[in-house]
């Protein structure tokens, strides 16, 4: 099972680079999610890997083979890959069995019986046993999606590509299918690239997440790394909710903004430099509920707005003597009201400084 290496990959449309000198390495058997907002280049990257697009510069290697470069591209049918499309792309004029078995026709040395057997096996795996003779129009959205999965897996590809395969499903089904896809990945162990704009999905499904911003990889790492140690403002803002405070470094380990002073999670700031500080809402605590620890930042403020969310309550707190408004997530047990004066404790480790 090979891995995928993208080196210096560039693709331009008009004058704009949709994929800009992109570097990414996917280890064998790994599932990497390409995550980012629309327009960040994740689908373009996927289509470059599939061979539908030719890069302007850079290379795509799968194992020992260079499949794409600016001068030559191996056509999609020879790349030994499979892809699951957002629209599923099931052929309406073919039955489920014909859809799933299509790719097997190009495998050498397979007889008809072999094909049928493999198709039946795969349909059983995706729990669509008995659906061989149905047509896609007779299936529900979830069933169609599973046919698409079966069709891709049955050819035993070296690389599996998924292009937002769950976005057409409703919320409940989506959650269910996330786990299903993860399970299939663990069973078959195919090197996979998974494009999505949904961070929860990326976090559940993938081994590593590559966050894309304007054609480049902003950060790649595990879900935990990305969430807790975002390396750029963009990543911090995109993954989970966060407060971003623009401040100036006063000392190597603290920043100020007006009257507000915060100790941060780093000790090598350049005094005078502009710094953005990311503070996750759930890492801020109300001083009424907890004592906090020594060394925590303590600030006073007033509750501006309360939003009850069921499993948590979202507070907007205006800080005293400052223009900063922080969002704080707390358990519903704490019943603060708008207008109340409060005190917040923020551990320095929760204040992650980001380069401007």
């Amino acid at each position: 099972m090979p891995g995928v290496t993208l080196r210096g990959l560039t693709k331009r449309y008009g004058g704009v680079a949709a994929v800009d000198n992109l570097l990414l390495e996917v280890k064998p058997r790994e599932l990497v999610a390409l995550l980012g907002p629309s327009g960040c280049g994740k689908t373009t990257t996927l289509r470059l890997v599939a061979g539908f697009l030719t890069p302007e510069a850079g290379e795509i290697w799968v194992g020992e083979r260079c499949l794409s470069s600016a001068t030559a591209v191996v056509p999609p049918e020879r790349r030994r890959m499979a892809m699951i499309f957002q629209s599923y792309a099931l052929w309406p004029h073919l039955t489920v069995a014909q859809n799933v078995g299509y790719g097997l026709r190009f495998k050498r040395g397979m007889t008809r019986t072999d094909r049928d057997r493999r198709v039946s096996e795969m349909l059983r795996v995706v729990q669509l046993d008995g659906f061989q003779a149905r047509y896609p129009s007779q299936l529900s959205g979830g069933q169609q999606q599973r046919v698409a999965v079966a069709r891709a897996l049955v050819v035993e590809p070296e690389i599996l590509l998924l292009d937002e395969p769950l976005s057409n499903l409703d919320a409940n089904l989506r959650e269910e299918m996330r786990f299903e896809i993860r399970r299939l990945h663990e069973t078959f162990g195919i090197t996979t690239l998974y494009v999505t704009h949904d961070q929860a999905e990326a976090m559940v499904i993938s081994d590593r997440i590559a966050v894309l911003d304007r054609g480049r990889v902003a950060q790649v790492g595990s879900a935990e790394e990305i969430f807790q140690q975002p390396r750029t403002r963009f990543v911090a803002d995109f993954i989970g909710r966060t407060n971003l405070v623009d401040a100036v470094a006063a000392t190597p380990d603290a920043v100020t903004r007006g009257a507000l002073r915060l100790r941060v999670a780093s000790a090598d700031l350049t005094p005078g430099a502009r710094v953005s500080v990311s503070i996750r809402p759930h890492e801020i605590a109300f001083a009424t509920s907890t004592e906090g620890h020594a060394g925590d930042n303590v600030v006073s403020g007033r509750v501006r707005r309360v939003s009850y969310l069921g499993d948590a309550v979202d507070y907007q707190v205006e800080l005293a003597d400052s223009d900063v408004v922080l969002r704080v997530a707390a358990a519903p047990v704490l019943r603060l009201r708008a207008g109340e004066a409060v005190r917040l404790t923020i551990p320095p480790s929760a204040c992650v400084p980001l380069p401007e």
Binding site: R65, C66, P76, E77, R78, A89, W91, R151
Partner: protein, 562 residues
């Protein structure tokens, strides 16, 4: 280093696309080029004398003015008819929508010159049946309407132009979410007020665009003005250009007179494109939510009566009078048992020698043009949709460009181009084939384009990533899915060919007559019965093909699903 490196396997086909592009260019540029050249030439060399002569002649100026008047009023009247009908069928709970749509589609495929001819029998000021009935009922001396007037001509042309407006508006209305209208209704606006103040402005680009389409129709028509205007003593540009070919022919002047018509058409189309943007329909934004029909209440029956009054004028009355004239000894006499005869049929099909050859020619040309046209349209639409070659936008543009050339102008250009060496096509069916192909390709391309837009590229990509090469994908995936759409393309082109008159009337020779020309010949003879017989035959052929198309597509080609 790269292994098994292969560039796109379709590079070999680029020359094929280039040949197609060159063919397209030749089809259009050659006749237009000759047209422009001849319009400025004379015995003494290059000159503008032809233009001076043509536009300085007060008689010809009148023809120009008549054309402008005709086009404008047809546009306005088509809006007045088409927009309410579109609103009624597209937005309200009017009953009988299916029948109405079928009748409108029938209006769309009826050749306007047949309609004009039928209306001569219906509304000739003295012998016209409607006028006779009117005089009988009211004991008046004056007729209800005189079809041999500008208003008569506007009336008849509108009857067969409003479907263009209708289709345009209906498609737009589908995109306007009900929410926008219901918002107005909740605030207290009546149905009419909502229609006028909310729906109308949103549909305005489509409305203007529909107006332009109807105007373009009116500008290019030849048959209806020849039938209705000439007896009344006035010309339009098209009939005048045709007259220039009477002996001794004044081809230079015909060319000079054609150029402004061409420019006007090009300008109008450019305007229309600007209005609609790249998509070709008026998108109005907003969510395309569910559309709830607006209840008409007590206006229901009045609206229905209005709609059927219009459709009676386009279909019921004309077809009925054609049938009567075909089966009667004397069309103007009341229908009675001893007025019935089959002699007209025997004469037309068995005695009149021109008929059989014309039918054969028409069928031959129809089948060949439709087949070649469908193949070309499919190739072009596929290439442009899948962006297979650089400059595919230019190809797409070229495929649709001929719509800019009115039939009679195209014919003059082709006449000039192909009555001289090295390629003398005049006198053969080939010149008619070239004319028809050029003229119908845009329609064919539009349908093929829609077809391929309906085949998501991901369906092909899914095949490729699983191991199928490009040609295999085309054969096993694209072709079966596009088949019914391409059949529809074939049908569109075929129908267009069999009813074509304005180019045929200039390019035919006695040995290469087609049905429409024979009908026109018979009209000059005043052979009402034979015309009616042939007209019914032509309609039967047309509707046969329409039926074929509906079976292939599974819905009527105005867009409603079965």
């Amino acid at each position: 280093m790269p292994s098994s490196v292969v560039r796109s396997t379709f590079d070999r086909s680029v020359p094929v696309w280039i040949t197609t592009a060159v063919t397209l260019v030749l089809l259009m540029i050659l006749p237009l080029g000759w047209l422009a050249w001849v319009s400025v030439s004379s015995e003494q060399g290059t000159t503008f004398a032809n233009y001076v002569q043509v536009f300085g002649d007060p008689h010809l100026q009148k023809a120009l003015w008549n054309t402008i008047v005709l086009a404008f009023w047809v546009g306005a009247a088509s809006l007045a008819v088409g927009v309410p009908m579109a609103w009624l069928t597209g937005r309200t709970d009017l009953p009988g929508k299916r029948l109405i749509r079928a009748l409108i589609m029938a209006s769309f495929v009826t050749p306007p010159f047949l309609g004009a001819f039928a209306w001569v029998m219906l509304a000739g000021p003295n012998a016209g049946l409607l006028n006779k009935v009117y005089r009988g009922l009211t004991a008046s001396d004056e007729p209800l309407m005189n079809i041999f007037t500008m208003s008569g001509l506007v009336f008849v042309v509108t009857l067969y132009s409003f479907p263009y407006v209708y289709i345009m508006i209906v498609n737009t209305l589908e995109l306007i979410a009900s929410d926008l209208e219901e918002a107005g209704a909740i605030l207290g606006a009546s149905r009419l007020r909502v229609a006028l103040t909310i729906t109308l402005p949103l549909a305005l680009p489509a409305i203007i665009s529909g107006f332009i389409l109807a105007v373009l129709q009116a500008l290019a028509l030849f048959g209806s003005p020849a039938i209705l205007a000439l007896p009344a003593g006035f010309h339009t540009i098209t009939t005048q250009i045709w007259t220039f070919f009477q002996y001794p022919p004044k081809v230079e002047q015909a060319a000079a007179f054609s150029i402004p018509l061409l420019l006007a058409t090009a300008l109008l189309l450019q305007l229309q494109k600007r209005l609609l943007g790249r998509r070709g329909y008026a998108g109005v934004g907003g969510k395309t939510g569910a559309r709830r029909p607006i209840p008409l209440g007590r206006w229901r029956w009045a609206a229905l009566a209005g709609v059927f009054a219009v459709l009676a004028c386009t279909i019921v009355l004309p077809y009925a009078i054609l049938a009567k004239a075909a089966f009667a000894k004397a069309w103007a006499q009341p229908l009675s048992w001893d007025n019935l005869t089959l002699a007209n049929f025997t004469f037309t099909f068995f005695e009149y020698s021109a008929t059989r050859d014309a039918i054969i020619n028409t069928l031959e040309l129809g089948i060949v043009t439709a087949t070649v046209g469908a193949v070309m349209a499919a190739l072009l639409a596929y290439v442009t949709n899948r962006r297979l070659v650089p400059g595919h936008q230019a190809l797409g543009f070229l495929a649709v460009a001929p719509v800019v050339i009115p039939g009679v102008v195209l014919a003059v250009g082709l006449f000039i181009a192909y009555t001289r060496p090295p390629l003398v096509l005049y006198g053969t069916l080939a010149i008619l084939f070239v004319a028809y192909l050029t003229k119908e390709l845009p329609v064919g391309y539009a349908q093929a384009d829609t077809t391929f837009k309906g085949v998501h590229p991901e369906l092909e990509e899914a095949g490729r990533i699983l191991g199928a090469g490009r040609l295999r994908v085309l054969r096993e995936i694209t072709a079966p899915l596009a088949r019914s759409g391409i059949i529809a393309t074939w049908c569109f082109v075929f129908i267009g060919v069999i009813r074509e008159l304005s180019a045929s009337i200039i390019l035919f020779t006695p040995a290469t007559k087609v049905i429409s020309v024979v009908i026109f010949d018979l009209k000059e003879e005043g052979q009402f019965a034979a015309i009616s017989v042939l007209g019914l035959f032509m309609l039967a052929m047309t509707f046969g093909i329409v039926l074929l198309m509906q079976t292939a597509l599974g819905r009527d080609f105005l867009g409603a699903k079965d």
